[in-house]
C-alpha cells in the first residue's frame, strides 16, 4: 500500500495545489523515446512547461495490449529508434533534473516491472532517476502485492486503475491499495482519442470518488478542451491525456509546437470556476 510514500505525497500535493488554484489536475502522457531520444526529451519538457501538474512518461513495450493504434505505433517507433529501459530511465532522470518541481510518473506493462529485471531493481532505478511512481495498466491489486512492496521500499507510488466495469466495493478495495491518484478509465476500451466521452461519466466519477481516499483522475479517450471541461464538471480531481498529444506531434512525431498548443488549451480547460478575463466573469448570464 503506497498511499503515503514520498512519491505518492508529491502526486497528491500536485492535485491539491491544482484544486487550490480552482482547477483539476492536468496529467499529459508522452511516449519516452518517441520519435527518438533527443526529441522525446524536448517533448517532455514542453508538456511540463505547457502546464502539466504531473507528467506521465510511457515506457515503450513490444505488446501494449491496453493501448490503441496511436500509442501502439509510437511505442513501436520508439523501440525501432533504440529505446530501452535504461535509455528511458535516463530520459526520466534528465527531465526530473530539469524540472524538479513536477512529479514524473512512468507508465509501463507488468513484464517490464515483474519480469527479468525484477521488481526491486526496477523500483530502485526509478527512484534513483527521480520518478515518483508508476502506472501499470495490466496489473491489478490481485497480483500487485510484490510490486507494492518494492515500491514501498523505494518511496514510490503504485497507481492502480479502476474501470467502468468495476463494482463499487472492488473500486474501494483497489483505491485503498493505491498511491498517488486513482486512475479512472473512462470507458471500456483501450487508449485512443474518441470524439466524445461516455454519457454516464459523471455517475461513474461520483460513485468512484465516494470510495476513494486518493484524488481521482479520468483518462482514456480525452482529446479536446471540451472533454477536459466535461471531466472537470464531473467532479473528478484530474484528467489524463495521452493519445491526443501523441497525435498532436504529427506523423513524424516532431511537431512540438503543435503539442504545446494543445497542452495549453487542455490546461486552460481545467479550470473549475469561470475564468476571470480582464476583470469580467465569463460563463454567467448577461443579466447579472
Amino acid at each position: 500500500m503506497t498511499r503515503d510514500t514520498p512519491g505518492s505525497l508529491r502526486v497528491r500535493d500536485a492535485f491539491a495545489t491544482a484544486a487550490a488554484e480552482g482547477r483539476i489536475g492536468f496529467v499529459p502522457y508522452v511516449v519516452a523515446g518517441y520519435p527518438e531520444a533527443g526529441t522525446s526529451e524536448s517533448v517532455a519538457l514542453a508538456a511540463i512547461d505547457a502546464g502539466a501538474d504531473v507528467l506521465e512518461l510511457g515506457l515503450p513495450y513490444s505488446d501494449p495490449l491496453a493501448d490503441g493504434a496511436t500509442v501502439q505505433r509510437a511505442s513501436a517507433a520508439a523501440l525501432a529508434a533504440g529505446a530501452t529501459l535504461s535509455r528511458s530511465l535516463a530520459l526520466v532522470e534528465r527531465v526530473c533534473r530539469a524540472r524538479p518541481a513536477t512529479p514524473v510518473l512512468v507508465m509501463g506493462y507488468v513484464n517490464q516491472f515483474l519480469g527479468p529485471t525484477g521488481a526491486d531493481k526496477v523500483a530502485r532505478r526509478l527512484a534513483d532517476a527521480g520518478a515518483v511512481g508508476a502506472i501499470v495498466p495490466d496489473l491489478t491489486p490481485d497480483e500487485g502485492a510484490a510490486l507494492e512492496d518494492a515500491f514501498l521500499g523505494h518511496g514510490l507510488a503504485l497507481i492502480y486503475l479502476v474501470a467502468p466495469t468495476t463494482p463499487t466495493d472492488r473500486a474501494a478495495a483497489i483505491a485503498a491499495r493505491g498511491g498517488g491518484f486513482l486512475y479512472l478509465v473512462s470507458l471500456a476500451g483501450v487508449t485512443g482519442a474518441r470524439s466524445s466521452l461516455p454519457a454516464s461519466l459523471k455517475a461513474l466519477v461520483t460513485r468512484v470518488k465516494s470510495v476513494s481516499p486518493l484524488p481521482v483522475a479520468v483518462g482514456f479517450g480525452v482529446s479536446r478542451p471540451a472533454h477536459v471541461r466535461a471531466v472537470a464538471r464531473t467532479g473528478a480531481d484530474g484528467v489524463v491525456v495521452g493519445s491526443a498529444l501523441v497525435d498532436a506531434l504529427g506523423p513524424a512525431g516532431e511537431d512540438i509546437a503543435g503539442l504545446t498548443q494543445l497542452c495549453r488549451q487542455l490546461r486552460a480547460a481545467t479550470t473549475l470556476r469561470p475564468a476571470v478575463v480582464e476583470g469580467r466573469h465569463v460563463g454567467l448570464p448577461a443579466a447579472c
Binding site: 505488446d63 491496453a66 513501436a76 529501459l85 527479468p116 495490466d138 491489478t140 490481485d142 474501470a163 471500456a188
Partner: protein, 902 residues
C-alpha cells in the same frame, strides 16, 4: 378448483358403492388370484435411464389423443420399442381409462404394468392387484404423511409396488418419509396442470440415492432424456409424446437409446470398481455378478459374522469363475501366518488375497497371488500413506483397502472413513474405499475420494439375517450408483496422482507450480469482472453432469470422437526395431485438429454465460476454423483475429473461416503473428466485455483459461490411455507432443502427469535453430515473465520486451507457453526437445511416405524428435519402448510449405 382434487373427489364418490359392497376377504381373494407380480425395480438398477411408456386416450392437459390403434396394440408397440414398463390410465372421466384396459394390456405384454390410478381409498389397491397391476401410482399431493405410509405398506403387502409421486419439496418430503422405493417427480402441477419442464431436474438432488428416481411429464425429446440420465434419474414416464407419434415403437426406441449410457472409452478408466464383500451364499454371488460388480469378497476369518469355512469358500469361488461374466474373487483373511495363507490360497483358489488384520510384511513372501492390505485410519493421512507405501513397495501388494478404525471390532466396522482424510490418502496410493458405504452414500464418496473402487458388505444386506444375506436390490442399486457417479464427470479425480498438487491443479487464484508462482491473472482492470464471471460460471459447470453429457453428444456425433489410436509400425521401423509407436489421431477430428474439443466446450459455456458474440485469436488458423465452426453450429456471430503474416501463409484456413461465416480481422501490429492476434483479441474484449466471450485457443492466458482449456482437451489423453491399455495392457513408457501455446500437449499429458513411470516429452519449434535466436522454444530457452495475463516461461530480452518467435509452423510460432506446462518443466516433470523447420518438414515427408498420413507441421515437430529421445532403442536403450505421440492436426494447410521446401 384444483384439478387433482376434483378428480380425486369424483373417484371417491364413483368407487364408494363398489368398494363398500365388496367384502375384504373377497377382495383379498381376488388379489391373491392375480398373476404373480412382475418386478420393475431390478430392471431399473441396470445402468442408465429406462422408459415407462404410457397409454392414454385423453388427458385434461393435452385433450384427446385418440389414435387408430387399440390400447393393446399401442402397448405392444411400446414393448417392441424397448420400454421397461407400461403405464395404463384407469380413470374414466378425464382420461377415458378403465380397469379393463389395465387387464387387457397386462395380458398382452410381458412387461410390468403400472396402474395410473387416482388412489383415494386403500381398498382400491387389492382391486388393482386383482386386475393384474404390478405397480400403482400414489400421489403425495392427495395424502398426509401417515396415510401415505400406510398406503405404501398395504400396497407392498399385496405385491403391488408403489410409485409415489411429488411435485414440490414438501410433497417430496412426505414421499420420502414413506417406505416407497420408487419416487417420481412430476414436472406438472396437478392442481393447475401447469408444466415446469425443469422441475424434476432441479429437485433430483433432494432424492437420496437409495430410492429409484422417475421423472414425469413434458418429456418431449430424447435430448431431455440424456439430461435426465446424467442427473441420475432411473426412469422417465413418457405419455403424450408417444401417443402423438405416428410410430410409437420407433419413438420408444429413440427415447430408450437416449437413456442408455453412451459408449465413452475415456470414462471407463475413471469409473469406480465395486467389491461386494462378505458373500455368504450363491444368491449373493449372483446378485453381485448381475449387478456388474468387479469383485466379490469371501471371508474365511473364523468367528466373524460372515465367515465361511474354506470348503464353502472354494465352492463359491468355482461358481464365481464359471459365470459368463466372471467376477474376481477376493479371499478375506486376518492375521493368518504365511503358511496358513498359502494353504488357504491353495484350497480356495482366489484371484486376490486380502489381509485384514495386523499382519507383518513377511507374510507376503511365498504368496503367489496379488494381495490387498486393509489399513485402518488411526493417526492421520500421512502415517497411513507411509504404511501403505511399505506394503505397495514390496511388489506383492497392489492395493490398499481403507477402512475406519474401531477399538475392538476386527474386519469391517460399518463406520465411514473421514472423507478428507480418505481423499488425501487416495491421492497418494491406490485405494479401495470401505467403511460403512451404502447405496445412498456411495456416489458422494466416489466423487469426493479418488479411490480406484469401493468395498461394501453390511450396507447391502437384508437386516436381521443370520448369517447376513445380501439384498439383491440394494446390491444392484449400490453398483449402479457407484459406477454412474463419475460417468459424466471427466474432471473428477479418480486415481492417485503422487505429484505436487500445483502440477495438476491451479489454486483458487489460478496459481500453478510446486511453489504456486506461475499463472495468475495479470490483466487490465476492465477485464477482471468478465474473468470473474467466467470463473464463477465455469465453477458451476465443471461438476455439472448435464454440461458434460451434452458436450459428449457433440464431441461424439459432431466432432467424431473418440479419435483412433493408430499403431504406426512402418514409421517406427525406420526409427528403431524396438519402437512401438502409437499416434493419437486428432487430425481425424472434425476440422482436422484437436482445437474442436476446446471450442465446442467454450461455445456451450458462452451460451451459459448468455453471451451473444464470440471472438478468438488464431495462429495457424486451426483454432479460428474450429471457433467459426462451433459458432456456425450454435448460431453465434464470430470474429477471428489473425496476424497478417499468418494470413499469408495459411490461406486455406482463412477461406474456411470465411466460408463458415466468421469475420477474419488481419492484425498488422508487432510481428503480425499469433501473439499480436492475442493482443488485438484482448483489446477487442476490453471494449466488448458485456456481450462477448473470448474463446481463447490454448491452455494459456489469465485464470481461469489455462484450467478451462486443459479440462476440455484432457479427453485426448484420457481416451488414449484407455485405448492403449486395451491394446497393450499397459500405459506407454513415453508420451510425446508438440508445444506452441500448449493445448494439445497438456490435453495429451494431463492423464499421465500423476503416473511417475510415464515420461512426458514436450517438443518445441527450434525454427532456424535455437542458437540462432530465431525459434519459438519458450520452455527450453525462455525465462520467467508475464505474457498475455499469466506468469510463465517466455522469450524476452533483459528489459522484459517480448522477443518475436520464429517457426515455419504458425501454430508453434508463439514466444510463450501455458503456465501448467511451464510448471511441469520447471519441476523436472517434462523432458524438453526441439526440432528445426527443416527437421519438421522432413518428418512430415517421412510420415506421409511410410504411413500415408499427412501431419500438420506442428505435430511433425514431435515426430522429428523421436529418433533422438533418450533411451530410444538403438540409441543407448535396449528394451522395447512403447511411445504415444499426439498427432494434433492434419497437414492439408501446409502443402504449400512442403512444395516450397522440396
Amino acid at each position: 378448483m384444483s384439478v387433482v382434487r376434483e378428480i380425486a373427489e369424483r373417484r371417491a364418490s364413483d368407487l364408494q358403492e363398489q368398494l363398500d359392497s365388496a367384502s375384504r376377504p373377497a377382495m383379498a381373494r381376488v388379489a391373491r388370484m392375480a398373476p404373480p407380480p412382475r418386478d420393475l425395480l431390478a430392471r431399473l438398477t441396470a445402468p442408465g435411464l429406462h422408459i415407462i411408456a404410457e397409454v392414454k386416450r385423453r388427458s385434461p392437459s393435452a385433450g384427446s389423443m385418440a389414435v387408430p390403434r387399440s390400447v393393446v396394440e399401442q402397448a405392444r408397440s411400446y414393448e417392441q420399442g424397448g420400454a421397461s414398463a407400461i403405464s395404463v390410465l384407469c380413470e374414466p372421466h378425464w382420461f377415458d381409462g378403465s380397469l379393463d384396459d389395465l387387464r387387457a394390456v397386462r395380458e398382452a405384454v410381458r412387461l410390468p404394468v403400472l396402474a395410473k390410478e387416482f388412489v383415494v381409498d386403500v381398498r382400491q389397491l387389492a382391486v388393482l392387484r386383482g386386475a393384474g397391476a404390478d405397480l400403482v401410482l400414489l400421489l403425495a399431493v392427495l395424502h398426509k404423511a401417515r396415510a401415505l405410509r400406510s398406503l405404501v405398506r398395504e400396497a407392498r403387502s399385496l405385491g403391488l409396488e408403489p410409485l409415489v409421486e411429488a411435485h414440490n419439496e414438501r410433497e417430496l418430503e412426505r414421499a420420502l418419509s414413506s417406505d416407497a422405493r420408487l419416487i417420481g417427480i412430476n414436472n406438472r402441477d396437478l392442481h393447475s396442470l401447469e408444466v415446469d419442464p425443469d422441475r424434476a431436474a432441479r429437485l433430483r438432488h433432494l432424492l437420496p440415492d437409495d430410492r429409484l428416481a422417475v421423472a414425469e411429464s413434458a418429456i418431449k425429446d430424447p435430448s431431455a432424456v440424456i439430461r435426465l440420465r446424467a442427473l441420475g434419474f432411473d426412469a422417465a414416464l413418457i405419455g403424450e409424446a408417444l401417443m402423438r407419434s405416428p410410430e410409437p415403437a420407433a419413438a420408444v426406441a429413440a427415447f430408450a437409446a437416449a437413456g442408455r449410457p453412451p459408449a465413452d472409452v475415456a470414462a471407463e478408466e475413471r469409473l469406480a470398481e465395486v467389491k461386494i464383500c462378505g458373500i455368504t451364499d450363491e444368491d449373493g454371488l449372483l446378485a453381485a455378478a448381475r449387478a456388474g460388480a468387479q469383485y466379490i469378497g469371501l471371508n474365511v476369518v473364523a468367528g466373524t459374522p460372515r465367515a465361511l469355512d474354506v470348503g464353502r469358500a472354494a465352492q463359491l469361488a468355482i461358481t464365481a469363475r464359471s459365470l459368463p461374466n466372471p467376477v474376481l474373487v477376493v479371499l478375506v483373511t486376518a492375521d493368518a501366518s504365511g503358511r496358513d495363507l498359502q494353504r488357504l490360497v491353495e484350497a480356495a483358489d482366489p484371484d486376490i488375497v486380502q489381509l485384514s488384520g495386523n499382519e507383518p510384511l513377511e507374510v507376503l513372501s511365498g504368496l503367489n497371488r496379488p494381495a490387498w492390505k486393509v489399513l485402518r485410519v488411526t493417526t492421520g493421512a500421512a502415517d497411513t500413506v507411509d504404511q501403505a507405501r511399505a506394503w505397495l513397495d514390496s511388489g506383492a501388494c497392489d492395493r490398499i483397502v481403507l477402512d475406519a478404525a474401531h477399538p475392538t471390532l476386527l474386519g469391517g466396522t460399518g463406520l465411514p472413513v473421514e472423507r478428507d482424510v480418505a481423499a488425501e490418502i487416495a491421492r497418494q496410493v491406490p485405494v479401495m474405499l470401505a467403511g460403512g458405504l451404502k447405496p445412498e452414500t456411495v456416489a458422494a464418496a466416489v466423487l469426493g475420494v479418488p479411490a480406484l473402487g469401493v468395498d461394501v458388505a453390511s450396507g447391502v444386506e437384508v437386516r436381521g439375517t443370520v448369517p447376513p444375506r445380501k439384498d439383491a436390490l440394494a446390491v444392484g442399486l449400490f453398483v449402479k450408483r457407484a459406477r454412474s457417479a463419475r460417468f459424466d464427470q471427466p474432471q473428477v479425480e479418480s486415481r492417485p496422482q503422487p505429484v505436487a498438487p500445483g502440477l495438476v491443479e491451479a489454486d483458487v487464484r489460478g496459481r500453478w507450480g510446486v511453489e504456486r508462482d506461475l499463472g495468475g491473472r495479470y490483466v487490465p482492470e476492465t477485464l477482471v469482472p468478465a474473468l470473474v464471471e467466467l470463473e464463477q460460471t465455469y465453477a458451476q459447470v465443471r461438476h455439472d453432469p448435464t454440461f458434460w453429457a451434452e458436450l459428449r453428444e457433440l464431441l461424439s456425433h459432431y466432432a467424431g470422437r473418440p479419435t483412433p489410436l493408430y499403431r504406426a509400425d512402418r514409421l517406427a521401423a525406420t526409427i528403431s526395431p524396438k519402437l512401438r509407436l502409437y499416434l493419437k489421431r486428432e487430425d481425424l477430428a472434425h476440422t482436422g485438429a484437436h482445437k474442436i474439443n476446446n471450442v465446442l466446450g467454450q461455445a456451450l459455456l458462452a451460451r451459459r454465460l448468455g453471451k451473444t458474440r464470440v471472438i478468438a485469436e488464431t495462429g495457424a488458423g486451426q483454432h479460428g476454423v474450429a471457433t467459426a465452426t462451433a459458432c456456425a453450429l450454435l448460431g453465434i456471430p464470430c470474429v477471428v483475429y489473425m496476424g497478417a503474416r499468418d494470413i499469408e501463409r495459411q490461406q486455406p484456413n482463412v477461406l474456411r473461416m470465411q466460408a463458415l461465416g466468421a469475420e477474419v480481422r488481419p492484425v498488422q501490429s508487432g510481428s503480425a503473428t499469433l501473439k499480436d492476434a492475442i493482443n488485438d483479441a484482448m483489446r477487442d474484449w476490453v471494449a466488448s466485455v458485456g456481450d462477448t466471450h473470448y474463446v481463447l485457443g490454448s491452455a494459456m492466458g489469465p485464470h481461469p483459461y489455462p484450467t478451462i482449456v486443459r479440462d476440455l482437451q484432457r479427453v485426448i489423453g484420457d481416451e488414449a490411455a484407455a485405448q492403449i491399455r486395451h491394446i497393450e495392457g499397459r500405459l506407454p513408457h513415453i508420451v510425446v507432443a508438440c508445444v506452441g501455446g500448449g493445448s494439445n500437449a497438456i490435453g495429451l499429458f494431463a492423464r499421465f502427469i500423476g503416473e511417475p513411470s510415464v515420461r512426458l516429452v514436450a517438443v518445441e519449434a527450434a525454427g532456424e535453430g535455437v542458437s540462432t535466436g530465431h525459434h519459438a522454444a519458450a520452455l527450453s530457452a525462455g525465462g520467467l515473465g508475464i505474457i498475455h495475463g499469466a506468469r510463465t516461461l517466455l522469450l524476452q530480452d533483459g528489459d522484459g520486451q517480448v522477443t518475436e518467435a520464429h517457426s515455419i509452423s504458425a501454430g508453434l510460432d508463439y514466444p510463450g507457453v501455458g503456465p501448467q506446462l511451464a510448471a511441469l518443466a520447471r519441476a523436472g516433470r517434462l523432458e524438453l526437445a526441439t526440432a528445426t523447420d527443416t527437421e519438421a518438414l522432413r518428418a512430415m515427408r517421412e510420415l506421409a511416405a511410410s504411413e500415408g498420413i499427412l501431419p500438420a507441421l506442428e505435430p511433425a515437430h514431435a515426430l522429428a524428435a523421436l529418433p533422438d529421445l533418450p533411451g530410444m532403442p538403438g540409441r543407448g536403450g535396449e528394451d522395447e519402448l512403447l511411445v504415444l505421440l499426439g498427432l494434433s492436426g492434419r497437414g492439408d494447410k501446409d502443402m504449400g510449405h512442403l512444395a516450397a521446401h522440396a
